[in-house]
Each structure stands twice: as C-alpha cells, then as structure tokens.
C-alpha cells in the first residue's frame, strides 16, 4: 500500500483559515439549536418553576466560567502577538478553571435536593450534564492544543487550532450565559 502525501492542487490557494472559521461557526449554529431545544423543553415542561438550588454555588461556577473565558481570551491575544509566556499561562489557567467548573457542577449534582426522576431534576441534570460534557470536551481540546503549544508550535502567523479551541470555549460560555438564569434565576 503506497503512502503518499495529499496532492497539492490549484485550490491550495484557498484561504483555509476562512473555511475553518466559517465551518466552526456553522457548527455553533447547529449546537445553538441543540441547546435552544433543551431550553425550550425546560420552559415547556416546568414553566419557570424550579427546584431548590444553592444560589451562591451557581453564582460561583458562573464567575469561574466567565474568568476562564477571560484567560482563554488572554491566551489567544497573547499568541497573536507572539507572547508565548502569557499564552502558556492563559492556557493553563483556562484548563484549570475549566476543571474547577466541572468540579463545581459535580458537587452541585451530589448535593442536589431533587431527584432525576422528577421533571425539574430531569431538566437540570440533562442541561447541566450536556453543557458539562461540552466543557469536558473543551478541556480535552485545550489540552491537545496546549501540548502542541509546548512543543513549540503556533505563532502569530499560524495558530488556528488554538484560536478554534478558544472560540469553542467561548461558545460553551455563551451557552452557560443562557442556562444559568434559566436554571437558577427565573424563579
């Protein structure tokens, strides 16, 4: 079996960055429908009723996720200006805050006052669970990117994987921007 490099053709001139970025946005559109449907299901089944939740914990993990977005932004801005040191710390902080957020959600689950076989419990566990699974996959992607980064890849000229991972991270944050009030604050 012959092993060959992919052939270069005239379309090598295509701006792949543009394609990748637009593709990632389309993926986000699709995900928006997923999360939008979960939100709709939440209001369809329960109206604005909600179970008993630890408000301070909710606020805490929300702020952690927001902070992680700031550190992710820092990492991207830093690599755009070839500041590798800051980018490194930005990535590490983002991953750490992501893990902390996941831990917060897990703790929230363990102390929940409702069970998953009642309507609010079903919605709460499903929505936070699917969101957390996105956080975890985001952490996974960031770790892969970080390893590449440590090997000396990425520069201001070429850092799409890092930028894409950070965009994904921000998207997960946007989802939580809607989920947090819908689960904790509406009533």
């Amino acid at each position: 079996m012959a092993v060959v490099a992919p052939t270069e053709t005239y379309h090598a001139v295509h701006d792949h960055l543009k394609l990748n970025r637009a593709g990632l946005w389309l993926f986000f559109f699709s995900e928006c429908v997923l999360f939008g449907l979960l939100l709709s299901a939440r209001f369809f089944l329960e109206g604005i009723e909600r179970g008993e939740l630890d408000q301070l914990l909710g606020l805490g993990i929300t702020i952690i996720l927001l902070l992680s977005s700031v550190t992710a932004f820092t990492a991207e801005t830093a690599i755009e200006h070839d500041n590798r040191k800051l980018a490194n710390w930005g990535l590490i902080a983002t991953i750490a805050l992501g893990v902390l957020f996941t831990g917060g959600v897990a703790y929230e689950w363990s102390i929940a006052h409702f069970h998953r076989n009642e309507a609010f419990g079903t919605l709460f566990f499903t929505m936070t669970g699917i969101h957390a699974s996105h956080v975890v996959s985001g952490i996974g992607i960031l770790v892969l990117v970080w390893v590449q980064f440590l090997r000396g890849r990425y520069s201001s000229k070429d850092h799409w994987p890092l930028a894409g991972a950070v965009m994904y991270w921000h998207f997960v944050d946007v989802v939580w921007v809607f989920f947090y009030p819908a689960l904790y604050l509406v009533k």
């Binding site: 977005s69 801005t77 200006h81 000229k157 850092h159 921007v177 009030p181």
Partner: protein, 67 residues
C-alpha cells in the same frame, strides 16, 4: 497587544457586573414576567458581548491576512 488586552478586560468587567446585577436582580425582585424579561435581556446582551469581542464574529466578513 496592550490595546487588545485592555478591550478584553473592559468587556470582561462589564460581563462580571452584568452577572452580579443579574443575580441581585433575580434574587430580590418578585415579579415573574418582568424578571424573566430582564434576565433574557441581560443574557442576550452578555452573549452579544462574548460573540463580538471574545469570539471575534466580525472576522467572518472582514478580510484579513492569514494567521
């Protein structure tokens, strides 16, 4: 670098303030419909800030050099 970071941090501070305001408003306010509308506005505002300043949505239609 510094300018970009500055913009980002200002946005982050606005987001943090909005989150706190959201929380205080929701915990202390007792009219269901108005609270729902207020929270929705805050959420859409925050989402718009993140999408524009953190996710750089404008790069989709702005021609720029590859990186």
């Amino acid at each position: 670098m510094q300018k970009a970071m500055q913009t980002g941090l200002i946005v982050a501070i606005i987001l943090a303030i909005l989150t706190i305001v959201e929380y205080v408003f929701a915990v202390n306010f007792d009219h269901d419909t108005i609270r729902f509308i207020g929270l929705s506005f805050a959420a859409f505002g925050k989402a718009a800030l993140i999408v524009y300043y953190f996710m750089h949505v404008y790069r989709l239609w702005r021609v720029e050099e590859a990186h």
